[in-house]
């Protein structure tokens, strides 16, 4: 059985910065529990000592030389921003620090 509880789902939504209502939390808990129970079978598959694969095609040492390439202009950089001021991206105040 999955360990998903409404509290855990609410916590995960917080980590993922998605606002959720209580109703959504309940629905997500139900849907995700089914999915989690189903995907949890991966555990059974890897009982032995199996290495993890994070890149499907093994490669290493791909580098870029330290050479300057053109940047965007300030106007281009800001062109998609919902709000900007003084050449910078404008965001609401941040309250959870200091």
């Amino acid at each position: 059985m999955s360990e998903l509880t409404p509290d855990l789902v609410r916590h995960l939504a917080g980590l993922a910065r998605i606002l959720v209502t209580d109703e959504e939390v309940n629905r997500l808990t139900e849907q995700l529990s089914l999915i989690v129970d189903s995907v949890a079978t991966v555990n059974a598959a890897v009982a032995g000592d199996v290495p993890a694969t994070s890149h499907p095609i093994p490669m290493a040492n791909v580098f870029r030389e330290d050479v300057v390439e053109p940047s965007l202009t300030q106007a281009e950089a800001l062109s998609g921003a919902p709000e900007s001021a003084e050449g910078r991206f404008k965001v609401a105040a941040i309250l959870d620090e200091e």
Partner: protein, 500 residues
């Protein structure tokens, strides 16, 4: 309707280069077709007739002036809307990106521009390519041209339906777990997922970085080869792109030789859960291949049992991180929250409003799979399953040169049929997902119609990593056998769409 639109891309290329038709004529014919049918099919999220015609006219002028042009110059193309384009909005099917005009072109888009291919428009997809039906597009689903009450497959249902309804001769797709191949199978078209890294991902709005791959969608194997030859190759902007060339796919598609070829039938992908008509057509194709001199062998891939589970951990995990950048600061939607508008609350409200339910489900699932205390059991185990699947493929490819399976367990299902059942939806990808987990190439080609519903069925061929050319060689051979048997292309069996 203009006969031009029914022609394969490779035929149009010949007509264009010989000067028999102009790019403006070809492009205009497709623009007209879209005006006539897309209100019913809904392949496109955005069309760019003016810029497409401008590119076409420019190519025609250059050709008239005797300039040396790329073989694909003047051939119009449709681009999946998760590839960035500087001259058209790019939404990835999501409200969170509505109206965004990217500041740069995806590498594959740059390449088609340099080759002089007019871009007809941006095609529909499930939001951020999360889905198998386009029903999760924030802008409404695309329809299957064979039956407008059915899904065109997903996530790339916009590209598959555009090509199947003659709104584009060729298109870009992206395939994370079958998003090119499944739509191809259910719309009677050709779709290829190249080897991971064979085509640059730079400018492809990432779903799952270690699974995503851009590839061609077409009505014919040779057409797809023409496009892969153009877009393939190393890109310094994509560190995971392969350094080496994989050779000419066009030459492979023209080779069409299967004599002495060992075709491995994957035992686990031809049994339970597969529709009768799907299995029947698959077995017939095996007999055709055998008759042409191929040897059919059975192979077993026992770890495929865990492929979907592993996939639905790796994909959401990577996606949860890839989609974190949608935070209302630099691009896209910004939603004011109720109450005190701190940045945290603005971000959370924006993501709540901008993401659809499937995207939220997967982001939260992925956050769970990566979170401390669960990582080893979920994400860690899934990455190990990936190793097991690679081992299964290695063993299978020791016995066979290519592997074969039905592309999908069923033909196109009805719109809305699986919308409320995510797990049932996930099962569609059972045959396509293993290739993404292992990074190997796969092709789906038309494989006849199922007896029970008369809808298209696809056959999937898989090859070892970097051996994409085998797929073109065998796929083109099988396609030729089919067309000889049927007397015409499979797409020519599709019912006429009502023209507005």
């Amino acid at each position: 309707m203009s006969e031009l639109i029914r022609k394969n891309a490779s035929e149009l290329v010949d007509l264009l280069s010989s000067g028999e038709v102009s790019s403006v004529e070809v492009t205009q014919a497709h623009i007209d077709r879209t005006a006539a049918v897309d209100s019913a099919v809904h392949s496109y999220l955005h069309v760019s007739p003016e810029s497409a015609l401008a590119t076409a006219a420019e190519i025609d002028r250059k050709r008239a002036a005797g300039e040396k042009l790329h073989p694909l110059a003047g051939l119009p193309i449709a681009v999946k809307d998760n590839l960035t384009t500087t001259d058209a909005p790019t939404t990835a099917g999501s409200k969170i990106l509505e109206g965004w005009i990217p500041q740069y072109d995806a590498t594959v888009v740059r390449k088609i521009r340099e080759a002089g291919m007019p871009i007809l428009g941006k095609t529909n997809l499930d939001e951020f390519a999360m889905g198998s039906s386009t029903e999760f597009s924030a802008y409404g689903p695309s329809k299957n041209p064979w039956d407008l009450t059915r899904i065109p497959g997903g996530s790339g249902g916009g590209s598959s339906s555009a090509v199947a309804s003659f709104q584009a001769p060729i298109a870009f797709g992206s395939d994370t777990g079958g998003s090119i191949r499944f739509p191809a199978a259910v719309t009677g078209t050709v779709g290829i997922k190249p080897t991971y890294g064979a085509v640059s991902r730079y400018g492809l709005i990432a779903l799952a970085s270690s699974l995503d791959q851009v590839g061609p969608v077409s009505r014919n194997v040779l057409d797809a080869a023409l496009l892969q030859d153009l877009i393939g190759g190393h890109d310094p902007h994509d560190s995971t792109s392969l350094p080496e060339s994989l050779g000419s796919m066009v030459e492979a598609a023209k080779r069409q030789d299967v004599k002495g070829l060992r075709v491995g039938v994957i035992k686990e992908l031809n049994g339970e859960g597969f529709q009768a008509g799907v299995k029947a057509r698959f077995n017939e194709s095996l007999r055709l291949l055998e008759a042409a001199g191929a040897e059919i062998v059975e192979v077993s891939c026992p770890s495929f049992e865990y492929a979907i589970a592993a996939y639905y951990l790796i994909l959401p995990a990577e996606a949860s991180s890839n989609l974190a950048k949608f935070d209302s600061v630099r691009f896209g939607l910004r939603k004011a929250p109720d109450g005190n508008p701190t940045i945290e609350r603005v971000m959370a409200a924006t993501r709540e409003a901008g993401f659809g339910p499937e995207v939220k489900r997967r982001i939260i699932l992925g956050t769970y799979a990566l979170s401390s205390g669960y990582y080893d059991a979920y994400y860690g185990s899934a990455q190990k399953v990936r190793t097991l699947i690679q081992r299964d493929f290695a063993a299978a490819f020791a016995k066979a040169d290519v592997l074969a399976s039905p592309t999908a367990p069923t033909t196109a299902f009805k719109l809305g049929e699986k919308l409320e059942d995510p797990l049932a939806m996930y099962l569609n990808d059972i045959a396509t997902i293993p290739a993404n987990l292992a990074g190997i190439p796969g092709i789906s080609i038309p494989n006849g119609l199922a007896d029970e519903d008369g809808l298209p069925v696809g056959i999937q061929l898989l090859a070892p990593a970097r051996e994409d050319s085998r797929l073109y060689q065998v796929g083109a051979a099988l396609e030729t056998m089919h067309e000889e048997q049927w007397g015409k292309r499979m797409i020519d069996f599709a019912p006429e769409l009502e023209v507005r």
